[in-house]
């Protein structure tokens, strides 16, 4: 706990940094030695307050010591998606340093790295949002180092170049290391528009490079939030009512306090957006004792009527709501007329479940609230697995009513994110608890807490209507989404009269040239907290949308892929992706009896991918998923092997969501509490996956982490239809035995 206070070097520097450009390419006068608020991601427990000696800050992202050691500050938390390599590589490529010679540290939400969400990971945005910006950071520093060398040698800049962390004078072969140049370079102005490298000269970007976190993760040395330790720390487990929305009436901790190691039990609040939940925290000298103490608590809850909530009734209410018109999201042409005029109409209703994120690392946080946090030098400090240091800082500052600058955040390796760690309830709760008990405290959720308490991915139901022209093309297409809303469950202000863009995500964005297209949204009230889940609403609405396209294709008597391509006359990314997929999947080769293949594509804010799923009928009356082919369109790729891994992972997650348990409510609480009932895909159920990346340049860069997910469920259901003739319209469904 010896970290130097953030404001040690005075206000002027901080204000300067705040006013600096958002590219982050600011410079510092002199040699700041100790105000670095890096998260000590390596060996955290032994060095909680690591301070770099004699370090020059070329930009907030690049720190060079006289010894030559280079530290790159990574603003994007590592949640398994590879940003611990891909983002620093953008900087290192332009800086002309090899990534294995660099120390990588996570930023903690400091304002010098930009505004809200600039240090968060979500929406598959780290590369598509930072590709040029991060390269500019590295290029600026490279130009400053070259300028410093040319000044020292008194030669033209043009005669010098950078290579392998040194600057070379071409005519003489003279060299100076970055360590030797850092101090004078840090005093130079930062180039506003540095010259970026020609991609042909890239040594890292675009190539499958090993990720530096992998060796740490195979040896047990990677520090996750749950592994953080500070002196004097105590542990807590919190009893919260699984009937969400219940109020705490009273609790009796007399038996809990008799458990060896238990120190106290206190009331504590959990904040999830607009929702405030109450719980009882049991504090102990070790986590096991805290758990035993928690079991011994006697707690009275007032369920506020929420104990009658159940999934069957709620689903029925959604089906009833499907009759209402809802609010129009996207409209082209005249759907009603085109539909009415067509002799060839089709209607279908699709249903999907609520699911959990179930990161392998349960929610947890270590917080240390120092009394007098408003005074200089005092702060509340957190060590946490979170998808955003800036998000933690913001939510903790608001919850504790302290200045954001006095919240210090250490972002550690996340044991999974999937959107769950965009909500910082676990962090604010630990911070408030530390304030209450006056000690550093680590709160660890049990798996049951993690599964029962949300926030969850919402379910969506979809009412589909479509009509075909005489030549078998879709002329009218309507997608009406009926669902609870993430926004409505999280925010006080929600306007039901406006279309909910998040809940209609992607439904108006597909490139099919359908002249009469209409999307609608019908909101259903729910008191259960809901949030973003990998690929958000595309994870459910793509199932309805792309299965219904398949239904229309069959009604038209057309091959499902040919039917889609016929509606993609214009040259679009979607057309290129499907054309590539047709080739790599061998779509036109016939399959043996008992096998079938299905196709789906999906384009949404995060990116674009398409998949072919191949299934075989099995002996139990179900199907086995044999293989998944995926084409993902990126425009530009940073680390192809990471992309492949992300697609493999997205497919595994999508199969779980489509074919495992999901969450259902009974008497106000989720029926599934742990992995025995909320089952996850296992190794014996994982199909072969073949990934093809389209990186053919172009003005935009598409995302990696999410686009591999939405096509899976519809492609799988379409494959089941091809193999068995059974049309799946409700998720989850049992692969072992088709209903």
């Amino acid at each position: 706990m010896s970290q130097k206070p953030q404001n040690q070097t005075g206000t002027s520097r901080r204000d300067f940094l705040k006013a600096a450009s958002l590219t982050g390419a600011v410079f510092a006068l002199g040699l700041p030695k100790s105000e670095i608020l890096a998260s000590p991601i390596l060996n955290l427990s032994s060095q909680p307050g690591l301070v770099l000696p004699e370090t020059a800050e070329l930009t907030p992202y690049i720190l060079i010591e006289k010894s030559g050691r280079i530290t790159i500050m990574n603003p994007r938390p590592e949640i398994g998606q590879g940003t611990y390599q891909s983002v620093p590589a953008l900087i290192a490529e332009e800086l002309e340093v090899s990534l294995d010679k660099v120390v990588i540290r996570q930023t903690g939400g400091e304002t010098k790295f930009g505004g809200m969400w600039s240090q968060a990971v979500g929406g598959s945005g780290s590369i598509r949002g930072g590709y040029t910006q991060m390269r500019k950071v590295g290029a600026s520093a490279r130009e400053m180092l070259i300028k410093a060398a040319s000044d020292q040698w008194n030669v033209p800049v043009e005669e010098c170049y950078a290579e392998n962390a040194t600057v070379v004078h071409k005519p003489t072969g003279k060299k100076l290391t970055y360590g030797q140049l850092a101090e004078p370079a840090a005093k130079l102005p930062v180039p506003k528009e540095p010259k970026l490298k020609d991609p042909k000269q890239f040594t890292m970007l675009g190539k499958s490079m090993p990720r530096p976190d992998v060796p740490l993760k195979v040896s047990g040395q990677a520090t996750f939030g749950i592994d953080a330790k500070v002196p004097g720390m105590v542990y807590a487990s919190i009893e919260r009512c699984p009937v969400l929305g219940s109020k705490l009436v009273s609790f009796d901790a007399s038996q809990a306090l008799k458990v060896k190691g238990v120190q106290k039990a206190v009331k504590i609040e959990r904040v999830v957006g607009k929702n405030h939940y109450e719980g009882v925290a049991v504090i102990a000298s070790n986590y096991w004792a805290a758990l035993q103490g928690r079991k011994a608590l006697k707690v009275k809850w007032d369920h506020q009527g929420h104990d009658t909530f159940n999934s069957a009734d709620f689903e029925k209410s959604l089906r009833d709501l499907a009759k209402s018109d809802g609010v129009v999201g996207h409209n082209a042409g005249d759907f009603d007329k085109a539909f009415a005029d067509s002799p060839n109409q089709l209607e279908a209703f699709y249903e999907t479940p609520i699911v959990t994120h179930s990161t392998m690392e349960p929610m947890n946080a270590l917080a240390h609230y120092q009394p007098g946090v408003d005074s200089p030098g005092n702060k509340v400090e957190l060590w946490v697995s979170s998808q955003g240091g800036d998000l933690v800082k913001d939510e903790v500052a608001k919850a504790l009513k302290v200045p954001a600058d006095n919240v210090a955040v250490h972002i550690l390796f996340n044991g999974g994110g999937f959107g769950r760690r965009l909500t910082q309830d676990f962090a604010t709760e630990a911070a408030m608890l530390s304030k209450t008990i006056g000690k550093p405290v680590k709160v660890i959720w049990t798996r049951e807490d993690d599964t029962l308490l949300g926030p969850f991915r919402p379910m969506t139901f979809s009412a589909m209507r479509g009509a075909l022209s005489a030549d078998g093309k879709a002329v009218a297409f309507q997608h009406k989404v009926i669902s609870p809303s993430i926004d409505a469950t999280m925010n006080e202000k929600y306007d039901k009269t406006k279309p909910d863009g998040t809940m209609l995500e992607g439904t108006g964005e597909q490139k099919y040239e359908i002249p009469n297209l209409n999307t609608r949204y019908v909101n259903a009230d729910i008191h259960i907290p809901l949030t973003y889940w990998r690929s958000v609403t595309s994870s459910t609405v793509a199932f309805a949308h792309e299965c219904f396209i398949d239904e229309l294709a069959h009604k038209a008597g057309k091959d499902p892929l040919a039917f889609r391509l016929a509606m993609l006359a214009k040259d679009t990314d979607a057309k290129r992706v499907l054309t590539k997929l047709k080739e790599v999947s061998g779509w036109n080769k016939s399959l043996p009896a008992g096998k079938g293949r299905g196709i789906a594509q999906w384009e949404f804010f995060a990116g674009l991918a398409a998949q072919v799923v191949e299934v075989s009928k099995n002996t139990t009356g179900g199907v086995t998923i044999d293989k998944v082919y995926c084409v993902i369109d990126l425009g530009t790729v940073v680390n192809p092997d990471t992309v492949k891994a992300q697609v493999e992972g997205a497919i595994a997650m999508a199969i779980t969501a489509a074919t495992k348990d999901g969450i259902t409510f009974e008497n106000g609480q989720a029926k599934q509490a742990n992995f025995d009932a909320n089952r996850m895909l296992r190794i014996n159920e994982m199909p072969q996956v073949e990934v093809h990346i389209l990186a053919e340049g172009g003005p935009t860069i598409k995302g990696v982490g999410e686009p591999g997910l939405p096509p899976l469920a519809p492609a799988l259901a379409n494959a089941v239809f091809a193999a068995t003739g059974k049309r799946i319209r409700r998720l989850p469904f049992d692969l072992e035995k088709l209903a």
Binding site: S45, E78, G80, Q81, G82, P210, R211, D213, V214, P215, L216, K217, V218, S219, G220, Q221, T223, F224, I226, K229, Y235, K260, G261, N286, Y287, W288, A289, Q292, T359, M360, E361, P362, F413, G415, G416, G417, I444, T446, R447, E448, D641, A645, Q646, E648, G649, A650, I651, A652, M653, N674, F675, D676, M680, L681, R682, I683, N684, M686, Q688, V689
Partner: protein, 168 residues
């Protein structure tokens, strides 16, 4: 509380803990080895897998009192420099994503290869089914196990006094 003597990674530890405390929490909170992870607490996910006398065991569901006298090995104990063939294969195939489950995956794989040096895909399915990976690294796990198996089978260790010296 009671005094419990455990041998972890060939080191003797005397712990002053509740004998009912699961081995997982003794390893993590008391001994301070955090490579072994908490995932579910009911032996359903395998994140907490350690070896008891070489056998893969879910440390979240076995009390310390039940493991006295047994040789306990954690991820930190399977090699000195993270150079066990399974760890090397895991790096070669870039298996981990978030990495949280991987200590347990590796412990299960090391135990599998000890018992079945040339595992079939069916052997891998059986041995690794108890380890959940939410990031979906299963296909790489399978490939890495085959690679480690080949490595362990094909290269008998050269005596240290007689190293091979490659010519440049």
């Amino acid at each position: 509380m009671a005094s419990v003597k455990l041998t972890i990674n060939n080191q003797a530890h005397t712990l002053d803990v509740d004998p009912e405390m699961p081995l997982l929490w003794a390893i993590r909170d008391v001994v301070g080895l955090t490579g072994t992870k908490f995932g579910c607490g009911i032996a359903q996910c395998g994140a907490c897998t350690v070896h008891l006398d070489g056998n893969p065991t879910r440390s979240c569901s076995i009390p310390v009192s039940a493991v006295v006298g047994q040789k306990i090995t954690t991820i930190e104990g399977i090699s000195k420099n993270a150079d066990h063939p399974v760890q090397k294969a895991w790096v070669e195939h870039q298996v981990p994503q978030c990495g949280y489950c991987q200590s347990g995956q590796i412990m299960s794989a090391v135990a599998l290869l000890k018992q079945t040096p040339k595992p079939t895909d069916a052997d891998i399915d059986t041995a690794m089914q108890g380890n959940i990976c939410r990031c979906g690294t299963y296909n790489r796990i399978r490939q890495a196990i085959h690679t480690a198996s080949a490595e362990m089978g094909s290269s008998p260790k050269m005596p240290k006094s007689n190293p091979k010296i490659g010519k440049r």
